[in-house]
């Protein structure tokens, strides 16, 4: 496994592989790898000849009020995990490499980035689309792997790839959950054991929503109220949103039919937690 922070070196290594017609897979991460990330790496490993893992805590997707400085970082552990999974190349650029002084270029998407997470974190998706576009241009992968846990991020990237004509296949990977159903997240490190117990209510609430839709309930106001009840029963009362959207346009859903994204965000201690289920209703 090779590790480098140099764009030129990454380009040369990938070019060498491409000239041998190898399929290149990219797994973009902010490090602090958990089983969710590892499932992405394993899928890339199965499907591609050459697997590139990028580790970069991207300042552009944090607002000044957010947790960029204290976001968990553990490069040593990340490199060991990557090596064990058979990653070929780990790209670990510096902030200075990715955003030199007076940096000014951004990829923006209208509408789809203005709702849900984007309504609460106004510059977040601009940071995401910009860094992903940069990684795509540097690595030029055939496929890129993203977790469904960040469903809106996935929808935004699907839209960007389609609209800006990137010749890259975006692979959606299922959310990995712990035994209680809680979707794995690097930010769980900030939670106490009692808070983790409360957080288990998130998945229960989503499952309840799915069950209601499957049983034929079509009143989304009623389903939302039931989801909020379940969250409350677990002590989760600081709810940013519970939302029903068409997958993957994220247009509002009024009645069952097609693929529906049920997503929610709650606050617990100092952490915001998001989760979702995509339902073929």
């Amino acid at each position: 496994m090779i590790r480098t922070g140099s764009i030129v070196r990454v380009r040369n290594l990938v070019k060498e592989q491409k000239s041998g017609s190898k399929e290149i897979g990219l797994v973009p991460t902010m490090g602090s790898l958990h089983d969710g990330h590892l499932s992405l790496i394993r899928k890339a490993r199965r499907e591609c000849d050459y697997v590139v893992l990028s580790i970069f805590v991207n300042p552009a997707q944090f607002s000044p009020a957010e947790d960029f400085d204290i976001y968990p970082r553990d490069l040593k552990s990340d490199l060991r995990l990557a090596h064990n999974e058979g990653v070929d190349l780990v790209f670990t650029p510096s902030v200075q490499t990715m955003y030199p002084k007076d940096y000014s270029s951004y990829v923006i998407l209208e509408k789809i980035t203005e709702i849900l997470e984007g309504a609460i974190r106004p510059t977040h998706f601009r940071g995401v689309t910009t860094i992903v576009a940069k990684l795509f241009n540097i690595i030029q992968p055939d496929s890129a792997y993203f977790g469904q846990k960040d469903a809106q991020q996935l929808a935004v990237i699907n839209t960007m790839v389609r609209e800006l004509n990137y010749p890259i296949k975006i692979v959606r990977c299922p959310t990995v959950r712990d035994k209680r159903g809680l979707a794995l997240s690097s930010r769980h490190q900030y939670l106490t054991p009692p808070q983790l117990k409360e957080a288990a209510g998130i998945y229960c609430a989503l499952v309840e929503g799915v069950a209601l839709i499957k049983s034929g309930v079509s009143d989304f106001g009623r389903i939302r109220r039931r989801i909020i009840d379940v969250l409350s029963n677990y002590g989760l009362k600081r709810i940013d949103y519970v939302s029903f959207n068409q997958w993957d346009s994220l247009l509002p859903v009024r009645k069952p039919g097609g693929k529906i994204l049920i997503s929610l965000a709650v606050r617990l201690g100092k952490v915001r937690l998001i989760d979702n289920i995509i339902l073929d209703a």
Copy 2:
């Protein structure tokens, strides 16, 4: 020479060439080709194995008040000229192909797009950078050719390529001028013979500015006034700007030294004309 409006077909044709390690050159145009465009094509033809010409009048770089609908189009003549110059592939996508319904993704640059042309045409460069990024992603050229006549456009694209990490060489091509010195432009079709005579004052004014700098004058206020005098003598009194900027950061210049872009924009009849000289002072 192959002509197609299909993104998939372009991709396949270019991929075939790339697998044979051919160097791909892209000349992006809005058609209505004149000798300025042909000089770009010739340079690409000399330097690359496979030359792609794109012809697309890009609505995103026109404001609603501008001349998108009446912008000159002459595809038959363009294709004949392209064929004569030995172009390999002409890409002529439809507006629907490039901007499908509910299109939402844009590449934006801060600061460098907010001055000069950008101050007068606020959404223009967003349209330029977006279409160029799309063409880069579709064609994935090794080199792309742009005329110096649109100097700010060139500086913006240089910045975009550097900052978004496109692995593409941007080639600056000298401005082609008629016998009076007037920089060729598709919009000259809108000018009457007396107006074309007035327009010749633009290049005289720029040359005068260069002469003053070369003779040691370092007071840019004085140089600007002299340039405006020359323009006035030719009857050009509707001046949008006369500007001195560092090339290619476009930061303001206060005193001679380094490469200086002298650029100006004037209005003549219903047309805005721009021109510039880059001076190694």
